[in-house]
Symmetry: C2
Subunit: 285 residues, 2 copies
């Protein structure tokens, strides 16, 4: 069994690491907040994690964190031996993923970008959806780990492809949230029960998981996360940055990102992303 390293024991990382320990892996971890993890060994730096591991998993907040933890001083790159593998499961810019991949390749270290969707609940139950970019060989090597952490692993292509897929996912989810918010607002403002409208629409071509789950959240005003609006805004920033690099005009995504800005400015960045509906309601007051 390969020795696993884990850097980043946040809301997502901690339950993922726990699932790997429970599956019998020898696991070394590092974490800024010096959190403990039963059955695993904590060390002081990402480099020390990598020195004791064959495969290192990182689960960090944003692109600069990944660049720093992997390529910075006392980072993963300094500790992993040739033949090692980095699996970055953070959601970061595709450009960051490609940069990390190229820098590690020079040292004979392979890398995968493998962001996830499903949130904390899926991280705990080992039912994440995992979107992977990198070499097919490396994916096969990491597959036993993915099988512990997730219920569906999709290999999408070369380095960065996993992050591009995640960005596309976040674009679709954000715009569908906005679609449902506008539709239910129109119904209510027109004197029609939005619960019946949601019900009617679920039976037809307007059906989506977002209409089902977040449509209900909007009806109930139930905006405890879930997935925090501020994180979705960060992910849309990644999509827009990638689009800018490719000169692709994402008109609707840009507008949705601005509405998330408003929601965050209103002090609700820590609420569920479906709280985007509140920005509309507040425009009416």
């Amino acid at each position: 069994m390969e020795r696993i390293g884990f850097v980043g024991l946040g809301i997502m990382g901690a339950p993922m690491a726990r699932n790997l320990v429970a599956a019998g892996y020898e696991l070394t971890f590092h974490n800024r907040s010096r959190r403990e993890l039963d059955g695993a060994t904590g060390v002081g730096t990402a480099r020390a994690v990598a020195e004791r591991s064959d495969i290192v998993i990182t689960m960090l907040p944003d692109s600069p964190d990944v660049e720093d933890v992997v390529l910075g001083a006392d980072g993963v790159a300094e500790g992993l031996r040739s033949g090692g593998l980095l699996v970055d499961m953070s959601t970061v810019a595709p450009a960051t993923a490609r940069r990390v991949h190229a820098a590690l390749a020079e040292r004979g270290v392979d890398a995968l970008d493998a962001p996830v969707s499903g949130g904390e609940a899926a991280a705990c139950s080992g039912e994440l959806s995992i979107m992977v970019g990198g070499s097919e060989q490396a994916v096969e090597r990491a597959r036993p780990l993915f099988d512990v952490l997730g219920k569906a692993t999709t290999y999408v292509g070369p380095p960065g492809a996993g992050q591009v897929t995640k960005a596309a996912n976040q674009v679709v989810v954000a715009l569908t949230i906005q679609a449902v918010a506008e539709a239910l607002l129109l119904a209510r403002a027109s004197g029609v029960d939005p619960a019946r409208v949601r019900e009617a629409l679920l039976g037809g071509f307007a059906q989506s998981k977002v209409l089902e789950a977040h449509g209900q959240r909007m009806l109930d005003g139930a905006f405890d996360p879930g997935f925090r609006a501020a994180l979705h805004r960060k992910d849309l920033g990644i999509a827009l940055q990638s689009a800018r690099e490719q000169h692709v005009p994402l008109l609707a995504t840009a507008q949705a990102a601005e509405l998330f800005n408003a929601l965050i400015a209103q002090g609700d960045g820590d609420r569920d992303h479906s709280a985007l509906a509140l920005v509309y309601e507040r425009m009416l007051r």
Copy 2:
């Protein structure tokens, strides 16, 4: 069995009328283009249809057509006796539906607004989704007809509520099309196979019927209608008009409507609404 009148034998109306005849209803119809219908009786005016019917169904292109055919000279209102019922299954403005309802109520005639979704295929197979506004009594009276024409009838509320629901439906579908178009464009521009991205996204929270069906259309460049872009633009106009009347800011819907304007200006109003993706592709040339 009640005697049925039918006005408007277009792409949708013709198969709907045929299904009613096949179900054994005595049917009188009127149609601008003087089309024939086996087993039914054609007459020269909407008034003549109404004079021979207990329930009149209208299936017409737009709000002015319905106002004209129902309330105009030689219209349905002049022919229906007190106790009659108008079922308008066109997609029109909620304000039009309420106006028609009020005008007929003065004559002792009941009315339902009962727009449909599902398109020509569902009209032919009798599997439309029907969203109904009006009195519950009138809905019960019309239910045997709805059971012939559709697979799901949802009663949503008072006069106009059916049209509000249809408008909300068209908002969600248009914005989800735009979401899928932006996501797949971002993937392709970033060098990632959009077919794999669609597949990965279908397994998670970004899932929708639109991603499934129209995502595939975009991958194949298969834009034969389906549902014509020009008609969807008309429906978004209804949503935006209703929103304006209620002072509700539908930011994303307004943007999507403008992109449909571009598609129509480019000569593609008769292609499927999923051809909205072409507007994005053409921005890149």
